[in-house]
Symmetry: C2
DNA sequence: ATGAAAGCGCTAACAT
DNA sequence: ATGTTAGCGCTTTCAT
């Protein structure tokens, strides 16, 4: 039951602990014969390397911190899963921190992870502005990649979906299916997803209808806000309700139904993100699917970029193309009632 | 930019590193005067303890592993959030592992966390039987608490909701609102949530209707299964569809609506867990709410139980009482149409 | 109350 | 290719 250490393996295999270390860590060339002996001894004794000691000596914990605003936001668990798999695949462990959507908690969590000597930080900032200081400080200490949301220019590398492209897909689809009076339910604030989707709507919708950019209601990314916003926008009788994410769209859908509106016959509803809820809504939500696995892979790749080579490499801002998922909530106006897809 | 160590603080404050350690870790009595000086020096230099070195020396990483079947199961993120907060509150960090619902991956993840020297393991087993071996082996090495699902008798301490009590609440509610022909859509397998909810339904429903225990369909905990199961059970015209969790209930609701059934007028539908989807469904789902914060707190408490005291303390199996949340999907049969609650 | 010194288990120079 | 020797930064005896 006592811990088996390198020393034990060295004793058992009749060579020095340095050699054993080299064999087991594969760090230097080693005699084929010795290697076999050592591995056998390690196996026999049930040796398990002590990552803590290794980390202290090598100054690398093999651990990355994952900091996110709220794990309960239904969009994040999928991202977390992909990240966890991508990282474990290269033998890095994931220290998880949930910030409760609060920049102060976020700063505390970042510090806690830094104190634990994470090799790198993967971070979805709580707030574009209020997270900046803590994020910039952290980025000065370890490689840091921003995910999904930005945090001001030049703070760190970032990976996100191309929000503008996604919104353009939605608007093109609505135009192609004959919608002419769109409106937009978005989120206030400067978070990149909120701002970019809003800006893209305003830019794209003007081509459809000069009045469209005016039909905008801004709140937060919640179901409740989706419901409330419909009360503000429905009186202007839009034929499409473009929502900044699926939660808002779910709320909008619910409220429209309560008001007796015919979706999609009278009015189309679209979301963004393609969380599971989108497929379950009635009618099922047309939405924009984020390339989660690719986002995760790209983030992991960015983390592994050797930061020591050459001058402080320019920040990268990777944007990945999303995909439109057409479901019943935006079926052509002629198609009354819609079916589930 | 170089790391500030205890030695630097000792030099700056003119005392030994041992004293500094004692001041900063609050481990032993120390002169008030010295303490002040040391703290000032630490502050001035921006000293940050190195948890890795501390862990190597003290044989405690201050880290607990959280192993779960699938973070994308919508029930888990809430539990994860509560656990994260409970643990960070006592300065423990959380290493997250997602098992992709696969016992083999689960075993690998457990080993990875053990190699990282987690102080303890919080684990939601993938499978009652197939997880047992790996879990038992892990429990022999570190304190381990099972969450939400069991893993055979006596393997480890466990914390879960009282599934039988929850199901009894549902059946009592249905009986009180005049339902007489319930049926049950559950999950096959031996996972405790599946088995206990199923058994409780069968026990409780027999009192309502001798034929009820026969109207049971067993699949998995998914929306798809909920949909499919309705096709099997609806022909027998139940007046209540009791589901083993909210995902199943969401699927059942959707399919019933497609078949033109009137919920709740003609048939009530109930879920279990109270995930956010439950409130969003139409009609909103009557369900059983798990006391998540209490479950998390209890799990954290169990982890902190000093395992070194006395004989290997008997395993604890803590069961917490759930709460019935009545919504529109089970409004009395007379109340046609229901409103959103 | 404080200091000196010995490691925790490992990797990385430096020898050989 | 292998062994020897220093530590990584900290906590913890053991002295004083």
């Amino acid at each position: 039951m006592a811990e088996v250490t390198l020393k034990d393996v060295a004793l058992a295999s009749g060579c020095s602990i340095a050699t054993v270390s080299r064999v087991l860590a594969g760090t230097r060339p080693v005699g084929a014969e010795t290697a076999r002996t050592v591995r056998a001894a390690a196996e026999a004794l049930g040796y398990r390397p002590n990552h803590v000691a290794r980390a202290l000596r090598s100054r690398s914990t093999g651990t990355v911190g994952l900091v996110l605003p709220q794990i309960t936001n239904p969009f994040f668990p999928f991202l977390v899963r992909e990240l966890e798999h991508a990282l474990h695949a290269e033998d890095r462990a994931v220290l998880l921190a949930d910030c409760d959507d609060d920049p102060v908690t976020e700063a505390a969590r970042i510090n806690a992870l830094l104190a634990r000597r994470v090799d790198a930080l993967l971070l979805i900032p709580v707030d574009e502005r209020r997270s900046r200081e803590a994020v910039a400080a952290a980025a000065a200490q370890v490689p840091l990649v921003l995910l999904d949301r930005g945090c001001g220019p030049g703070v760190a590398d970032s990976v996100a979906v191309d929000n503008a492209a996604g919104m353009a897909l939605v608007l093109a689809h609505l135009a192609a299916t004959g919608r002419r009076r769109p409106c937009f339910i978005g989120a206030a604030g400067t978070a990149s997803a909120a701002a970019e989707r809003r800006a893209a709507y305003e830019a794209g919708a003007a081509a459809l209808d000069p009045g469209a950019p005016g039909r905008v209601a801004l709140g937060d990314f919640s179901v409740e806000w989706g419901r409330a916003a419909v009360d503000r926008l429905w009186p202007s009788r839009p034929d499409a309700v473009v929502c900044a994410n699926d939660l808002i769209a779910a709320g909008a859908l619910q409220r429209l139904r309560q008001l007796g509106a015919d979706v999609p016959g009278e009015v189309a509803v679209t979301g963004f993100d393609d969380i599971p809820l989108a497929g379950l809504a009635d009618p099922a939500l047309t939405t924009v699917r984020q390339p989660l696995a690719e986002l995760a892979a790209e983030a992991a790749r960015l983390l592994s970029r050797n930061p020591a080579a050459g001058p402080p490499a320019a920040r990268r801002a990777v944007r990945l193309a999303p995909e439109l998922v057409v479901r019943a909530s935006s079926a052509g106006p002629g198609t009354r009632g819609g079916g589930s897809s």
